[in-house]
Amino acid sequence: MNLRRLIWRRLWHYRRTNAGVLLGAALAATVLTGALMVGDSVRHSLTRLTLSRLGKTDFVVSAPERLFASDLAARLSAGAGEQIVPVLLLDGVVFSPEGERRVNAVQVVGVEDAFWALAPAPLASPHLPGSACRVNPALAARLGLTGQGEGLVLRLRKPGGLPADMTLATRDQDAWSRRLRVQGIQAPEAFGHFTLKTTQTPPPTIFLPLAWLSEQLGIAGRANVLLIQAPAGSATVQSLQARLDDVWRLADAGLRITRLEDGAVELLSDQVFIPPAIAEAAFGAWPDVRPVTTYFLNQITAGDRATPYSFASAAGPPRVPLTMPDDEVLINDWLAEDLDARPGSPLTVTYYAVDTGGRLVEQSADFRVGDIVSTAAVAAQDRRLTPAIPGLSDADNCRDWDPGIPIDLDRLRDQDEAYWDAYGPLPKLYLTHATAERLWRNRFGVHTALRFHGAEATLDAVGKALHASLSARDLGFTVRAARADGLAASREAVDFGQLFIGLSFFLIVAAVLLTILLFAFSIEQRAEETGTLRALGIPPAVIRRGLLAEGLMLVVAGAAVGSVLAVGYNALILLALETLWQDAVRVAVFQVQVRPVSMLAGSAGVILAALAGMAWVIRGQARLTVRELQHQQPDATDRRPGRGALVAGGILLLTAIVICSTVSAGQGREAAGAFFASGSLLLAGLILLAQGALGRWRPADAAGGAPTRGGLVWGAAVLRRGRGVACMALMALGVFLVMAVAANRRGTVRDPGARSSGTGGWRLWGQTTLPIVHDLNSERGRARYGLSDPVVDEAVFTTIRLREGDDASCLNLNRVAAPHLLGVDPAAWDQRGAFTFSRLGAGVDPAHPWRALAQAPAPDIVPAFADMADIVWGLGRTLGDTLAYTDEQGRPFQVKLMGGLAPSILQGHLIVSEAFLMQRYPSLGGARVLLVDVPAAHSAALERVLTRRLADLGLASVPATQRLAEFNAVENTYLSIFMLLGGLGVLLGSAGLGIVAARNILERRAELALLRAVGFRRGQLLRMLFLEHAALALAGMVTGVLAAGVAVAPALLAPETTIPWRGLLLTLAGVLVGSLSWIGLAVLAAMRGPLLPALRQE
């Protein structure tokens, strides 16, 4: 005989109870390990998707809002081992041929054949002849395409034109559309999931031949992205950046240098204005650089005469003497004659400028004529003062002008046409640089040309000097470790393991407690044995070790079973996430991933928790004497315990009442915290009071010492009050948690028009694929989009610029590094009192939080707000944290999180000041997000009109309440999961009540037999026992409901809370029925068989 044998004997002998312990451990391990596996599976799936969307791409070179020669790929890869592929990446809208279906936000990818070699599983590389395209499954599904030969219409904005907000940019003419033939549907493993965005949802994508597409768009031979596959360890971001610095050319930055007649070299930009960073570098690169600024004037007036539409130039010396005062201008003799002006004459110029909102604003300035210059002389010496402006400088006739600003061609006179015919866009007016800077500096720059003078000024020398003083980064080129970043984003994604541990925490706790409870009963059941062993001199440590070893074997076996079951549980959860709980993730891409380390971790967690509980139980038994153990009941004592519990319970109860009475339920977040705290105190207080009451109060005292039936029940409860109160507390806590969580469910907004609500008071949310460049609140702007419907007159539009990044909303499971930026007008939003803040950072005025967006805390820091849920879950940050961005000129800057919004329609974005956004990304032309104020009654009609009229822009609009509801659905789904798993936990906890009941009855069989012997009927005993334990269940539920009612009082009053009464009542009813059933079954099972033999045994 040895200890091991004794353990085996006992394991087998008490196999029924042990099976319960094992099953409890198995259940806990299933849920815990399953939760960890869900985390593994989601992470694995996201990693797989990352690899699927990037293929073999390791690095990405891009230049936002810029096109470069596609041969940059060849220059960059020369002599190196990388495979570098140029791509033209654009956004477009796709229509079915008859226009009945439209897909917005389509990713348009212009590719060469080499692109397909980077696919995860490059099949036979599809060759795309001109106008043929391939689509990915996402686009095919949404268009209803089934395969080869079908047609579609693609519409997009021509890239490479002037930024839409530039004064002279043509705002509409860069839209492009073509009918295309679908060659096939690209399989997911062959780049059907291609995207450079960090997302688990592949965007609808269309692939076109790069050469054909770029030619069609008038940008032949240009691309905007390079995909790089680098042999392992052969390249880094820094090494690629360094090589890019070597190989870039001026043309890659949209710059060109030409030689002027006077021998100087002129630097021009495709974007009209030379970007400030480049201008600054050019001034430093050459000793004699003379800037030129030429601008378009709407009118020049002198007295009662006016000359329409002319160019003015700050040409510098020799054209404009350095000594000329800033309030003087030179005019050519043609203009002097036209205006009848002479030196000293006052004149006024009017011109368009663009405000921060992208609106054209006509401004004017007054001057005095300093002198008159010869038109012919200027024309002979320098006809290139005016830069190339599409639609203007390239027109043969001024009647053919089509600039990006409103002009009235009827105002053009014969002499204007004659001037154009003779001199073209030759400026008529000359002013100083200081004046030009003051009037016309804008976010794109101020100089329209830079002229390099000097004997050494050759094209080659200037080119080299510029190359030496500029880096690729200055030109806006960025190199990104796409694969590493993508993998990091998926690795650091929302931890579904933790999430599901949290969601199923109560279920896990209930299962572990049940395991411990069963083990405790098993230990109690053999107390006599333990007593005998002690009496026989077996050292207590050996006895404890033996019992613990038994427990360990049971929980290890249970955990092993649970680990295996967890695979199925994991699969079930993933299936539910893709179907039943689809609102939480919106994708169906999960693959089961089984990692031994998670199995071990889950098992270890359950084993440790259960063992700790078992050790505690064994330790408790070790305090009993041999006599107590052998007789299986404590020695008599007259102590009436519970005084401490009553006092502590009373204090907690009083504290809860004091907190509730001092905080109003409507006082927001603080009130919510206070009420939750008082609810928790109430819960603890009531449980302690119950424990105290069981210890102190005896019905027999109230009945003058005469025994009563109630007294019998109460007496039994008092004798085993530890078990009873533990079960009651478990029930109460479970009900409390389920109710408290359910109360956080968000429903539809009660008052969608309330500006403090999650809609901000706006009725409609819209997002376009192509930018809105006209002012929708102006008659002219509406006319440009054909918005002539009467319902539009009821609407006020708020248009918001969008800098594309990654979606930071809860719909993106990846950890996002650089979310979308929305540029808003802080003053307007402050005045509006839009949205409600969940939390504000230090230094933000709670009375005017939006104003904080207008104040940069430091030069390179842009303040931002975001949804609090995005900050915590999507970004994994807290207030005060910063996110790294790179601006259009390649300069890094930080976006600082200054405030967190309560759930709103802005989820997924960072909100910054429009002014800061435009400062960082001047080329962002037009707005992409639309918020509309409109009377509720007209909301649906307006939505239909906008969807129809702005179809070409790819407008997707939804009622703001619907957008909010879609975001809330995510949170609500998680709450539903918690309610389900929590409800199961409570149900399982209620099984504990059944076990307690069974155990109590078995221990009291002799007592019950006596009651039978003295005439109690069996039915009476059954009823008595049932009521005794049902009272505990009810007390637990009532305690939980009361405490939860107090804890969630503020949520009940919140405008966006909808308590799921039906689900909640069903859960509570299920728990009640479950508890009573367990108790009923336990009572029946324990009372099975004749009782009187128990009396004889006694």
Partner: protein
């Protein structure tokens, strides 16, 4: 030289001064020589079992001292006390308290679990257990579970278990209390025989006058005191 000495042993349940305080033993002094046999008789609830438990180190007196083999039991830590009980004292209870999961032979060997034994020692223990079982007429029951034994057989098995470690003192608490008269007589004879043949010191607490008379000395416990 006394094997067991009790000096002014008192035992009280409940707190002094409270109405429910009960003094069970009231200054008992007793010397038991090695090889002696004695019986303690008395009415139910007079404290016989309490006295026996105190003698065997299963319970501690409220006051007074208990010395066994020259060692003050109250001064010993739990582990040491357990070792004394295991190596030097054998217990037989009114109920046999055999472990239900184990066979008769395994039950008999339970006390050997207290210390690590070599293979040879284990074999010796087993041989001794089988020898004792044979002597008690239980050889053919050694692989039975307790549930299949009669009351007398179970109690005899409990006696064998008490003897397995060759104790110097055998304490029996109402060993025949749950047995019929014939079986009780047989067990009484067996205990006497063990005392006579093996020289084990035997203290029996019993209601049974017949069993008491088999012992060398009989004490009566009344009002917390022993009367010879």
């Amino acid at each position: 030289m006394s094997l067991l000495e009790l000096d002014a042993v008192r035992k009280q349940y409940g707190e002094s001064g409270t109405p429910t305080a009960v003094r069970v033993l009231d200054g008992i002094s007793l010397r038991v020589a090695a090889g002696a046999s004695l019986a303690v008789v008395g009415p139910s609830g007079c404290g016989k079992s309490t006295l026996l438990n105190i003698m065997g180190g299963l319970d501690r007196p409220t006051a007074g001292s208990v010395t066994f083999g020259g060692r003050e039991l109250a001064a010993l830590p739990d582990e040491a006390l357990a070792r004394v009980r295991n190596r030097e004292i054998g217990f037989v209870f009114q109920q046999h308290h055999l472990l239900a999961p184990c066979t008769v032979l395994e039950n008999v060997l339970i006390p050997t679990l207290a210390e690590r034994h070599t293979r040879a020692e284990r074999q010796a223990d087993r041989d001794r257990a089988e020898g004792l079982l044979e002597r008690m007429g239980l050889a053919d029951r050694r692989h039975y579970r307790p549930g299949r034994l009669s009351g007398g057989e179970a109690q005899r098995a409990a006696v064998v278990r008490a003897l397995i470690n060759r104790p110097r003192l055998l304490l029996a608490d109402e060993p025949t209390g749950s047995l019929d008269q014939v079986t009780a007589g047989s067990l009484g004879e067996l205990l006497s025989q063990l005392h006579t043949d093996d020289g084990v010191t035997l203290i029996v607490v019993t209601h049974s006058r017949e069993l008491a008379e088999r012992m060398g000395t009989v004490y009566e416990l009344a009002n917390g005191r022993l009367v010879s």
